[in-house]
């Protein structure tokens, strides 16, 4: 029995998909083999910005091994239309042009044509035989340069929307919005300490190990089936339906195991091209990206420029804050600046706030969601300014955060009022942690050490649509079909919630992630919604099963259903102690009383996804001569609401921290003057390896989310938010030098220390 009277929730059973994954039996997209399979490859733009004057596919088509070549002209032209894909709103015309460029290419790596051939080598050879004539245009890759008057314009027809109104100005700024609360000027006037700083961050990629893939089969009846790696099979179905202008009923998406997504596997890239090639050839067509295609042709998260100003009184109260946030959208509008603005000051209760956000197009890949999209950039700015203010005031930075922490009833600058949240509880847990209370030993080898802290917030999306379909086996086990693809242990966390509800063990539930024809519409696995939202559906399914089993028992025992109780996993008739049975016992007979027992439930809860807060503590050691930062110890503290499977909560926290460390210390898209990424491989795009990290320690705080029957809050995203700021604060503590540009890579750190005598 775990805490809170739960039997299954809070325990750590082995995940249902674990053995298949560690033994290599799990089926991923690249494993798909079909009879008559053709292999596809993509022709990509070598230029960051150019007009396509002509595409000549004749040489490729003449190759004996080539079966079909397609370009944007094979896609239906669609009008401007906005669609919500789960983590972001997308203009479908842009989505189509991103799949195959029409008229212009907007970044190096932009797809212009697709080929299907008898094998991959022929397909790759044929790509070189496609002749594209370009008129090269000036390009712009930096957010501030792109905002300047006279910058090269990506979309000649795009007028800036400002404060909700379309203006006459054609510029790369797609949108400027503002959130305002109170009177910041008055707030700053009250303050005794005011700090204003500028920050830059670079484009970074989610870096999932499995590259994008899609295998499409368009059969003689016009029915399209796609096997793919995605965070949302139904989202893929919607996108295919819109981009190819075909009814959803003609599209079936089969989601395979997913080797990481982190927000980057929601938009489609290869799927429509594979579908067109299959339609042309009548054969199934498989496409798999190489790593450089993933870097250059999919959606990283943006580089950004931020200016943050915060003020506090001498007794340590925040009085005002303002932020100017300019985020790169990439080739098409839609950066996560809106989400960043919703998070930037949210761990704090500040009466006067103004936030200005700018969504800016640049000649880089269209950005996409990445774990708490927009929030990490924002926290890097806020959390280092808070550190500076705490230092100026001479107060402990965590005590400062507790004193100014957001709580139930605090209003976010973008409008919503917090329900019950664990912001202060999380900060207090960090403050009281053994790590934070320990003293940091001096380095013995001429290096310097320091400690830093930072906090972070992520909304957690509200519920969303989820469907679950179950059938009860005569032995009392349950086959559970779900539409949520499992990217972080959700088969287990959802099955556990069903098991808890009906008094079974986690192993009695057999969860299956199924295709879009086999289950009701389910929103993407994203926004930290799945254990919350699909778990909510699992609880409702359990309730439905209890009702159904009472009906069956009523028939079997010939007693009224409403006189049957269900408690501690046992059904019993109130007036006769003999008439009782566990779920399993009843299951063996239930089929005789009305046919097989099944249930289907769909939910779209309206309560809050919970809101997630995290506070991190890090100790670093710095080689001043080389600028290299080593991490000695790292502790992540986070409110999980209720940790359904604590190991997977810890795993999410550790994974997020590691990605945040990579973002903070080394990861970045490095562009040359030609607008080309020079480090599109894991050799030079430096994600941390196991040798670069200590074991990440975790402390789970549980402040239940009142909108969920078991108190669940999403946990997957917020852990990436604090690390860059925590590292910057630790580097300052060690050296006395503040770094305000990411990544804080060895050359940058060395230079900053040399220039500032650190």
């Amino acid at each position: 029995m775990s805490q809170n009277g739960h039997k299954v929730i809070g325990t750590r059973p082995i995940r249902h998909d674990g053995v298949d994954k560690v033994t290599g039996r799990a089926i991923y997209g690249a494993d798909i083999q079909l009879t008559g399979l053709l292999h596809g490859a993509i022709k990509r733009s070598p230029h960051p910005h150019a007009r396509i004057k002509n595409i000549d596919t004749s040489r490729a088509e003449a190759h004996p091994g080539v079966r079909a070549v397609v370009t944007a002209h094979d896609l239906p032209q669609i009008a401007d239309k906005l669609a919500d894909l789960g983590e972001a709103i997308v203009n479908l015309r842009d989505a189509s042009n991103n799949v195959l460029a029409y008229g212009k290419v907007l970044y190096k790596g932009h797809a212009v044509s697709g080929v299907a051939a008898i094998n991959l080598h022929v397909a790759q050879e044929a790509v070189e035989l496609i002749d594209v004539e370009y008129e090269v245009l000036p390009h712009v890759t930096g957010v501030l340069e792109a905002m300047e008057d006279g910058a090269p314009i990506l979309h000649e027809d795009m007028k800036t929307t400002s404060m909700g109104e379309e203006t006459d100005k054609v510029s790369n700024v797609a949108n400027h919005f503002q959130h305002k609360m109170g009177e910041p000027d008055d707030g700053f006037a009250e303050a005794d300490v005011v700090i204003e700083r500028e920050f830059t961050t670079q484009t970074v990629h989610q870096g999932y190990i499995e590259t994008h893939n899609a295998t499409a089969h368009w059969n003689e009846e016009g029915q399209l089936t796609i096997w793919t790696s995605t965070q949302g099979a139904f989202s893929v179905r919607d996108q295919m339906s819109e981009i190819l202008q075909m009814p959803v009923s003609k599209v079936k998406i089969v989601p395979l195991e997913i080797g990481g997504g982190f927000g980057g596997k929601i938009s489609v890239y290869l799927d429509p091209v594979a579908a067109l090639l299959s339609k042309r050839t009548g054969h199934p067509v498989k496409m798999t990206m190489t790593r450089d295609e993933v870097f250059e042709g999919t959606g990283p998260t943006p580089g950004s420029y931020l200016k943050v100003k915060m003020g506090a009184t001498s007794d340590g109260r925040l009085t005002a804050a303002t932020a100017y946030m300019a985020y790169e959208a990439g080739a098409y509008p839609g950066s996560p600046v809106g989400a960043g603005a919703g998070c930037i000051f949210t761990p704090y209760d500040i009466p006067n706030v103004q936030i200005d956000g700018y969504d800016v197009c640049v000649n880089k890949p269209k950005t996409n969601a990445y774990r708490a999209p927009g929030a990490t950039n924002a926290a890097y700015a806020t959390e280092t300014v808070v550190d500076e203010i705490s230092e100026k005031l001479g107060v402990d930075p965590l005590e400062f955060r507790v004193k100014n922490g957001a709580k139930e009833g605090t209003r976010r600058a973008d409008g919503p009022v917090h329900p019950r949240i664990g912001c202060i509880e999380t900060t207090e847990a960090a403050l009281n942690s053994e790590h934070y209370r320990s003293s940091l030993a001096k380095s013995g080898n001429g290096k310097v050490r320091g400690r830093g802290v930072a906090s972070g917030y992520w909304f957690n999306f509200n519920g969303g649509r989820s469907a679950i379909s179950v059938s009860i086996n005569p032995d009392g086990t349950i086959n559970m079909l779900e539409g949520s693809t499992d990217i972080g242990g959700t088969r287990a966390s959802i099955a556990m919630q069903l098991a808890e509800t009906i008094g079974l063990e986690a192993t009695d539930i057999k969860p299956y992630v199924v295709d879009t024809d086999s289950i009701g519409y389910t929103d993407v696995t994203g926004g930290s919604r799945t254990t919350f939202g699909t778990g909510y559906a699992a609880h409702a399914t359990g309730q439905a099963l209890i009702r159904e089993m009472k009906e069956r028992a009523s028939k079997l025992w010939d007693v009224p259903a409403d006189a049957i109780d269900f408690e501690d996993g046992v059904f019993s008739y109130r007036d006769d102690a003999e008439k009782r049975g566990s779920f399993k016992e009843l299951a063996s007979q239930a089929g005789d009383a009305g046919g097989p027992v099944v249930a289907q439930v769909s939910t779209n809860p309206d309560g809050s996804g919970g809101g997630a807060f995290a506070t991190h503590v890090v100790d670093v050691e710095i080689d001043r001569e080389t600028g290299k930062v080593d991490i000695l110890r790292y502790t992540a503290v986070q409110d999980a609401g209720t940790a359904i499977h604590p190991s997977y909560v810890e795993g999410q926290m550790q994974g997020g921290v590691v990605q945040g460390i990579g973002w903070g210390l080394n990861e970045e898209y490095i562009y040359n003057d030609e607008g080309s990424m020079t480090n599109a491989s894991f050799l030079d795009y430096r994600m941390p390896t196991t040798l670069d990290l200590p074991m990440i320690e975790t402390i789970i705080v549980e402040v239940p989310n009142e909108s969920h029957p078991y108190g669940v809050r999403g946990v997957g995203e917020v852990p990436i938010v604090p690390p860059p700021a925590a590292l910057a604060n630790a580097i300052y503590d060690a050296t006395g030098v503040r770094l305000r540009d990411l990544p804080m890579s060895p050359p940058r750190v060395q230079k900053a220390l040399a220039e500032n005598g650190g």
């Binding site: 480090n679 894991f682 060895p746 060395q750 040399a754």
Partner: protein
């Protein structure tokens, strides 16, 4: 990747014939940890791959305390550091052999391949230079010998002529009171390419208070791994001191001609050359004293 033929000659003579016949479009395969990647990524095109791993001379590994060690050009790193005697005699070379890639890569990667690949950042090349390595080359006109420091001529280019290939590497036996050391700087702790790599070997006086001679070589700061003769010479006859070592480090820095790229700016690389040279000479001195 384009289609190519694959051959496995079993003698040096057969390999020379195959390579000569095919001319420029043939390439030699040792461990393949560079070559296969380059072919797959279309960075290189070939009509014939000549796998030299079945030739006895290319697999030789023999050590003699008087004459030194001979390492066949295709011998993988793990066999080299796996030989206790060789590992004890050439710790400076082991520094590099143990850090190429990782365990899996070291099962295949050879010193010969690292040298013939002629990357300015090849990790085993600076230590091979400072240990006075000599390359034995076979070709249509018989065999010839070239000092390792003269082997690489430009990024990816070597002294090898059409039809020629590397048979083995030879290093003289270590003398008393000598020590060698190699270290590279990378932003992470593994799986990275040297931003700067420095190798040093020193011979100390009998009382170990001064340098008799020294050799210093630097990687990733010029079109080829760089033998900085003047930096080592500046130590000869000098006392072992912070000042003498710093002077050698300054000379190595001055010799460096790095470019700015995604792995570091030229300025940063020059700075690192000085820092690493100092640390590496100190490491070599330490080993000489052990």
């Amino acid at each position: 990747m384009h289609a190519f033929d694959y051959a496995t000659p079993e003698s040096v003579a057969d390999a020379v014939v195959m390579l000569s016949d095919q001319g420029k479009n043939a390439c030699v395969l040792a461990g393949g940890t560079d070559l296969i990647v380059q072919l797959r990524e279309n960075r290189r095109r070939t009509d014939l791959v000549v796998d030299v791993k079945r030739i006895a001379e290319l697999n030789a590994l023999s050590y003699d305390a008087a004459t030194g060690v001979t390492i066949g050009a295709a011998v993988p790193c793990y066999r080299i550091y796996g030989d206790a005697e060789i590992a004890a005699a050439y710790p400076g070379l082991m520094d590099a052999a143990r850090l190429v890639g990782g365990t899996g890569i070291q099962g295949r990667a050879s010193l010969g391949g690292n040298l013939c690949n002629a990357s300015p950042a090849g990790d085993t090349i600076p230590p091979m230079i400072v240990l006075s390595g000599e390359a034995e080359i076979a070709g249509p006109n018989g065999t010839r010998k070239v000092a390792v420091e003269d082997f690489c001529t430009a990024p990816g280019r070597t002294v090898l002529e059409v039809g020629e290939f590397l048979v083995s590497l030879h290093f003289p036996a270590p003398v008393p009171n000598s020590g060698a050391f190699y270290r590279r700087f990378i932003p992470r702790n593994e799986m990275d390419i040297a931003v700067v790599g420095v190798g040093a070997s020193v011979v100390l006086s009998e009382d170990r208070s001064s340098f008799v001679s020294a050799r210093i070589a630097v990687g990733a700061v010029a079109p080829t791994p760089l033998f900085v003769r003047e930096a080592g010479d500046a130590l000869a006859g000098q006392p072992v001191s912070d000042e003498s070592i710093q002077r050698a480090a300054d000379l190595a820095r001055d010799a460096a001609r790095p470019i700015s790229d995604m792995r570091g700016t030229a300025e940063y690389r020059k700075h690192l050359t000085s820092v690493l040279t100092r640390r590496v000479v100190e490491g070599a001195v330490q080993r000489a004293k052990e």
